[in-house]
Amino acid sequence: MKSFFLSAVMLLLPVLLLAQFSTLNGKVTMDDGKPASRVTITVKGTKVAGTSDDNGKYELKNIPYGKHTVVFSSVEIKEQAITIIFNKTTQALNITAIPAEDSNLDDVVIEGATQKKKIETTGFAVSVIETKEASLRNLQTNELLDRAVGVRVRQNGGIGSEVEYNLNGMTGRSVGVFIDGIEISTYGSSFNLNNIPPAMIDRIEVYKGVLPSHLAGDYMGGAINVVLKKDAGQNNISASVSYGSFNTFQADASLMTRAAKSGFTVKASGFYTHTDNSYEIWGKFSKFVAPNGVVTRNHRAKRFNDEYRSAGGRVELGFTNVKWADQFLLGYNGSDTYNEIPHGQTMGRPYVGRFSEADAHVLSVVYNKKNLFIKGLTLNFNGVYSDRNTYIQDTSGWVYNWDGNPRLDIYNRPMYRINQGQQGAKTMNSINRKITTVRANLSYDIISGHRLSVNHMYYTVDRNDNDIFRPVGDDIYRTINDIAKNVTAFNYEAQTFGNKLKTNVFVKLYQQSTGRTAPDIKVVNGQTVVTTVVSSDNRSTTGYGMALSYTFLPKLMFVGSAERAVRMPGESEIFGDPADNVIANPGIRPEVSENYNAGLRLDGYKIDKHRFTVSGNLFWRNVKDRIMRQANTNLSDQEIELSPFVNIGLAQALGFEGELMYNYAEKLNVMFNFSKFNSLYKQEFDAATGQRLSDYYNKQLPNEPFYTMNGNAQYRFNNLIQKKSIINLYYNFGYVASFRTIWPESEWFTTPTQFSHDLGVSYRTPNRKIVVSFDAKNLFNQEMYDNFGVQKPGRAFYLKLNYTITNF
């Protein structure tokens, strides 16, 4: 394996040519002084091309000396061609562009590489979700992700409930979720994909399997990186409110402003979400138990005790695009959540009075600078400190039915469990976490197209649990957990063969140490004996891999990647998390996997007014000590309330995903994707005893959707009601094939096939300030499940109003 990588590196080493090259840079400005972004700049007769960034700036490298014509084009500007003689290593060219006529819009072919396309062609198995459209509609960030190829978002109920991400058969914490490269758990449950409005997000990158080094961490299933809006080039205020079914109210507002001269930048945004989640349920687990014990299933009822409230704000102050920094921002992020917990892992037993409160105060500093000290040296630094509190209360012993009333016993008295809460023993548990995350990335362009980088990630959590239902003031009952993690990645990126081949080779070093001080309560000879157990663990290991892409025809590209990845058990997997019904498992071991991806991508293939993008990706994962939520090996515990994460041994996933996008005359957009894989249990014999372990060798792992499809269509009407107004119609469907939720075959424990349809419409006024949108979700009121035993919302309607002011 090692020699393979070595020879690969040798092969791709740069072949230095003796010819001389020039670099052209500058800025494209509109005639009104605003920067023109996403302008494609090409040098005729060469393969050199580039795009202007959000500030209108661009840079083209490797332009051979001599006389060339540079062409500036974009949807928004009239094409300009300028002829220049290149005879210096660096030359500058600033131009002023003239806006294109609106009527020309249909005729312009967009050839500029968007951020989406750029990332999707780096060799990693990645898809990029643009949120611009979605932010105007009644969509949650999670819903948006769920529609992406190979992504399955599994939510334990309505808005605010626990969410798990499944990327092509990898799940749980093996999938990293980041906000601007910072692990999302740093921000806590009060600032996560449940409540960050798409309006705050620029784009979401979904990496499957192999991760680029700037997201280096101990993840193996891939990562979801939410990139928040950075664009401070334009002064901008936007706000939206939305209201819909189940008393769901959402509002968000954001402001961005930058002083052109000093570069002083202010970005502020806030959101508020409230919902009762009072949707109707009628599935198998919706029960009514009569006083004589007789259970009626499929009891139609409205969910109760499921209110969710969340508010948060984010302020960043600093300087952008100044001499000494491209970005230097100090930020504060505060959020607060109240979440009623309506049931355990399944909805078998309704809870009334169990709730959690969470708040987080997060301080951050961001610094990045290209060409720091010397040309080609880039530094990115992101440091975050977070103080998070979670409080869970559950003190009521009354037993409830799904009709919302206390359950009656055989003598028609309300049932009460002495010393019990809704889920087991009474609890008033405060969990405090102090999290520090630092990510630094230093890269150096040795010569154009060859970059070396080193990335270091440090993550530490100090966690302190204190339940006042344990004897007060008695420190022996206190649990203190610490975890510290370092991941260092070395990376070499190269673009060779006339930029046709892009390669990325990396090595990652992982280290993690945990410490736990917890009470061990035992009954010895009838006496309760409490001993304080101090345990610690330190592990380190190495991973490596590579990614490449090769363009063999202008629009046809191969992408491939291979990696040996390691992932350490996460804090909640080791120490448990009562808010998400997770039991501690201090003995859990790291998971190691080999990931391989290979795919083809045909980009923007055009016949007349029809444009196609087709991509397919084959993936294979071989996992040792696979970590997953414990699934039952027998048929009891159908109404489980709590469970731990466990190592299950060897597992393998082999699958395929595909995506087709079609566009007609920039009016009709159709997208279809699917993902299907076999995720098999591969542990046949016990490593220690050689004994055959189970009947489940080579069987599909339970509780993982393995066949999903998504499709959507969008049609745009111009000038329909008012001149220059835009109406968009949307349709979306999601399909999940039925899957087992426990190890043995059992009809009872198999989720049904799910097929849901959504419709939406939005209207943008001619002045572009107001967008109104209406969405209808789960149109046919299907019985939907992500997790077995927790029904998701049925039909729902939402209305949203967006208001934007630019250039005030």
Binding site: N292, V294, G348, D409, G526, Q527, L635, D637, E639
Partner: protein, 438 residues
């Protein structure tokens, strides 16, 4: 590829629609196929979870025709071709007298304490029937229960919680609080629940004795008293430290009025000191002579082993009667794991002795107070600890005999003719064993 996918998608929709409509149908349909009169024989097997023989991997059942069950040339593998019964540990299964229904109360786990019934339709065909009943709030997640021999009308589930009373921080007494719950099996629902403080003699309580568990309820011949077996425990006085060495006190039965489940009375045997709770099977039977015969177990080593004692129609122990298995078989420290009364004063006992796990079968004559060991081939490693179901069909007594992890056979003992017949072969899997015939 795309076409195929869409096809699949459409099929999916169609299948969903079909599923939804067929679900509705199921409820109205009479699940009993017409013309079925034969006696099904259900065999059950317990799967291992972590250790061989732990039985915690779930319970599988399969129904055979009585001809197949008796045919030594047939072989069956419940673990390969059976039906998985809902339960965490070995399911506490009971069958209707005609073998056409199985009753189950899940034992331990999140759904422990849930009753449901299955129709027995041959092979792995066990559709659920009737209502599901949740008795957990009364009887807990680990209720012990038996069907009464009242024509499959009633089941009784029992449970005990222990109340420790202290005065000034010092433990003065420990006492079992028993719950007795009756369950209507014909129209599944709870029909009665009573809680009773199970006080012993003050002197015994002072020494630390208390009723730790109830099990093995049985109805007397008159049908007006319910007898519930007990598992006794003793703490060292003033503590909650289990005293496992002091002498035991006389075997006790809790007697309540039936069907009211009220007026508890504790009766004590002078002939035995073991428990009469059984472990995972019934241990008390109403004899054809009107006496209730109880097997005891968990006797102290050297205390004379398991006995069979009896309660008369006056609902008091007949202390003039005892059958000592030690004496009858000339062994020591015998331990009856399970047994069944087969009529005419004859019973079949599954037992071990001398502190070993090895299981044996003997035929006992309750009238003559004698016992004869039945020698069977290939029974090395046989362990009846979790054994639950001995089936009676006329004069025939069916027992599944499989050592842990090894193949075995069904055996049919004729209680009248005293013959032994080898029945169908039972294929086993590592760590598993067959635990019942119903």
């Amino acid at each position: 590829m795309k076409k195929q996918l869409f096809k699949n998608a459409i099929l999916g929709v169609a299948a969903t629609a079909l599923l939804l409509s067929s679900c509705k149908k199921d409820k109205d349909e009479n699940t009993n196929p017409p013309g079925l009169t034969e006696r099904w024989v259900t065999v059950s097997g317990a799967k291992m979870e972590t250790n061989p023989g732990d039985g915690n991997g779930g319970t599988m059942v399969q129904s055979l025709s009585i001809e197949d069950a008796k045919d030594p040339n047939k072989s069956f593998d419940v673990f390969e071709s059976g039906f998985n019964v809902k339960s965490q540990r070995t399911a506490r299964l009971q069958a209707s007298e005609d073998g056409k229904q199985l009753f189950n109360i899940q034992y331990s786990g999140a759904d422990g304490g849930t009753f449901n019934a299955y129709n027995v339709l041959g092979g792995k065909n066990y559709p659920s029937t009737g209502a599901e009943v949740d008795i957990e709030p009364y009887a807990g997640q680990t209720p012990r229960w038996y069907k009464l021999y009242d024509g499959d009308k009633t089941g009784v589930a029992v449970n005990v919680s222990v109340k420790n009373d202290s005065v000034g921080g010092k433990l003065v007494s420990s006492r079992g609080i028993g719950t007795i719950l009756s369950l209507n099996l014909q129209n599944a629902a709870i029909s009665g629940v009573e809680n009773h403080e199970l006080a012993l003699d003050a002197a015994d309580e002072l020494k630390g004795h208390f009723i730790f568990r109830l099990d093995a309820p049985i109805l007397n011949k008159a049908g007006n008293k319910l007898m519930v077996g007990t598992w006794m425990r003793k703490y060292a006085p003033g503590t909650t430290t289990v005293d496992g060495t002091s002498d035991r006190i006389g075997t006790k039965t809790v007697v309540v009025d039936y069907p009211s489940l009220k007026n508890p009375k504790i009766i004590t045997s002078t002939q035995a000191t073991g428990d009469n709770s059984g472990y995972r099977s019934q241990i008390s039977y109403l004899g054809s002579d009107g006496y209730i015969y109880q097997a005891t177990h968990r006797e102290r080593a050297g205390a004379g082993g398991s006995k069979i004692i009896r309660i008369g129609q006056n609902n008091e122990y007949d202390n003039s009667y005892v059958l000592s298995l030690d004496n009858a078989l000339s062994i020591t420290d015998s331990y009856i794991e399970s047994w069944r009364y087969a009529g005419n004063g004859i019973g079949y006992v599954l037992y071990r002795h001398g502190g070993n796990k090895q299981g044996y079968i003997a035929r006992v004559d309750l009238r003559a107070k004698t016992a004869t060991k039945i020698d069977l081939p290939g029974t090395e490693g046989l362990d009846f600890e979790q054994y639950q179901g001995i089936m009676i069909n006329g004069d025939e007594v069916f027992v599944a005999v499989t050592p842990t992890g090894l193949d075995g056979n069904l055996y049919i003992f004729n209680s009248r003719t005293n013959t032994v017949t080898k029945g169908a072969k039972l294929i086993n899997k590592a760590g598993n064993r067959y635990i019942g015939v119903y």
